[in-house]
């Protein structure tokens, strides 16, 4: 590996550290800067003073901010995410139980979204200005506008309640058989992919439009290459960087959507854990989930960057 490349890799990886520190500091300091007394809000309206005091101590609100933050960061770095106020269980084990459904949901969503959105975006750019293009772009606006829970109930009503093709809700683990797993997770993944498809298709179309105007595309056509080869090998390859970037950035959208989708389909994943945590005002759990999701987001985008350094020779220069 050439030295400048290695140096770049190291700098890029190191750049994620301040981002994660800011996330941790932000999530942590909210407890201190929130208006009112967070301990009494978390404890609820009927809590006794003793209970509020117990929560204040368990959150460490009775000790100085910096000392508490140092302790807390130290624990996090040792994979100790704290203890749930509501259940008294370690947060890390609560999270571990919930990983599979959420990763299944998000993984299948990404697969569906990319396989649908990229070809659709390419076709829209190829036939720019025609009715096909307009229809695709109209769909994209709808994809941005219809909230994920509305899509979820719509699909569930049609395909699960009426047609009975899929189960209405719940999750069957992958250990219980691939077919059952796929059947259970398909509808939620379709739901979640809706806005993601809109996002990727729009960016694919935009980038492809720019690439298709370039000279090498004309050359490829002039030498008699078929349209399929021009579009998918020559043009799409050169449009890859912005498309892969938006797939990475869209993970944020996906995470937010997963929280809501899991509620609609009663999937016992991280999103459901988040919703339960907020209803019970279980702040340690919320803190951990936010940290974890942000960490995933940062990691995915790091991976995206690294992938194109390795794949695209132009970025290396």
């Amino acid at each position: 590996m050439p030295m400048p490349l290695l140096g770049y890799l190291i700098r890029r990886i190191a750049a994620t550290i301040p981002v994660m520190v800011v996330v941790a500091l932000f999530v942590f300091s909210l407890l201190y800067i929130a208006p009112g007394d967070p301990a009494s809000i978390i404890a609820g309206d009927q809590a006794s003073p003793a209970e509020i005091e117990r929560i204040r101590q368990s959150l460490g609100l009775d000790r100085p901010f910096l000392i508490r933050f140092a302790e807390w960061s130290w624990q996090i770095l040792h994979a100790d995410l704290g203890t749930s106020i509501f259940s008294g269980l370690p947060v890390s084990s609560l999270i571990a139980q919930r990983l599979e459904p959420t990763f299944s949901l998000m993984g299948l969503t990404i697969v569906i979204a990319v396989t649908v959105a990229v070809p659709v975006g390419v076709v829209a750019a190829w036939r720019a200005g025609t009715m096909i293009d307009r229809a695709i772009m109209l769909f994209a606006v709808f994809g941005f506008s219809v909230p994920v829970f509305v899509v979820g109930y719509g699909l569930a009503y049609l395909f699960a309640v009426r047609l009975e093709w899929f189960p209405v809700q719940g999750y069957s683990p992958i250990a219980g058989g691939f077919r059952e797993w796929l059947k259970g997770i398909s509808l939620p993944a379709l739901t979640l992919s809706f806005s993601y498809i809109a996002l990727i298709a729009r960016v694919t179309r935009a980038t492809m439009l720019e690439v298709l105007n370039q000279d090498f595309i004309r050359t490829a056509r002039a030498k008699g290459l078929g349209e399929g080869a021009v579009l998918f090998t020559h043009a799409l390859k050169n449009a890859a960087v912005p498309i892969v970037t938006v797939i990475g950035l869209g993970i944020a959208l996906l995470i937010g959507g997963a929280v809501v989708t899991e509620s609609v389909f009663s999937i016992p994943g991280l999103g459901r854990l988040t919703v339960d945590a907020i209803l019970q005002r279980d702040y340690p759990v919320l803190q951990a989930v936010v940290l974890l999701f942000s960490f995933i987001f940062v990691l995915v985008n790091l991976a995206v960057d690294l992938v194109y350094i390795l794949v695209d020779p132009r970025v290396r220069l």
Partner: protein, 308 residues
Amino acid sequence: MEAPAGGARELAPVSTATAPALPDIFRVRIASGGVLGFVRRHPAIATGVVLLAIVVLAAILAPLLWTVDPTALAPARRARPPSAVNWFGTDMLGRDIYSRVVYGARVSLIVGFSVAILSVLFGLAIGLVAGFVRPLESLIMRVMDGMMSIPPILLAITLMALTRGSVGNVILSITIAEIPRVSRLVRSVVLAIRERPYVEAAITSGTSVPMTIWRHILPNTLGPLTVQATHICASAMIIEAALSFIGAGTPPTTPSWGNIMAEGRALWQVKPFIILFPALFLSATVLAVNLVGDGLRDWLDPRAAKRV
């Protein structure tokens, strides 16, 4: 001379070093053809504006639109399907869904518009500081990077966990989640514009920073910020509904579209109409705002119209 609307795409002549006239981007192309001509050329904006106007009117005139008290309970008439009396049916507590949906428009619009205005104002201020005060730039941008890696809904949920559910707190939470995107946009415009010869000339000849911002930076951010504001408005409406839907938003006593849907969740398989009507209104309103936003973007920057 045509003002560089939005993205400022032409360099001003270096020799004269004068600022371009303030871009009155909202007037430039309405001139010909009157209202009909405008509608024909910008069907998306027109559709969005009309839809949005209907929702705004409905929200303002809610008491006059044959509604009843949206919080009035009628336990005897629970979960009734739509009828001549209750146009959209009644919910599990017998409240009239039509009235709740019409009043619910108020919450969505207030949240959407307030978040858009507040996050643009704060984001603008932060972006300007980051763009002009070099020592603070990297600190501010690192903080914004960190906040941007927290998914907005999750950030809003976390903030709501520490406050009591109210419309004001919902607005505040979503605003905090949206500020980083605005400030990034503003900073990138500042960095691009500051290098322009006419701005350099203005600074060299002693124009103060506030005057530079007022004359050169603000006019150039106006276009992109307006577009950004509409998209923030749309996303704030969705986030508010999502927060209320999962029980972390406006208090259950306030009729909001997310609350109505949250209350319909338990019965949605047998009484889908409880969810259907707020869902339709929410989707249509967000669609209207997005249409206006996309239309504005194409209008202010015709080159982008071809791209996206």
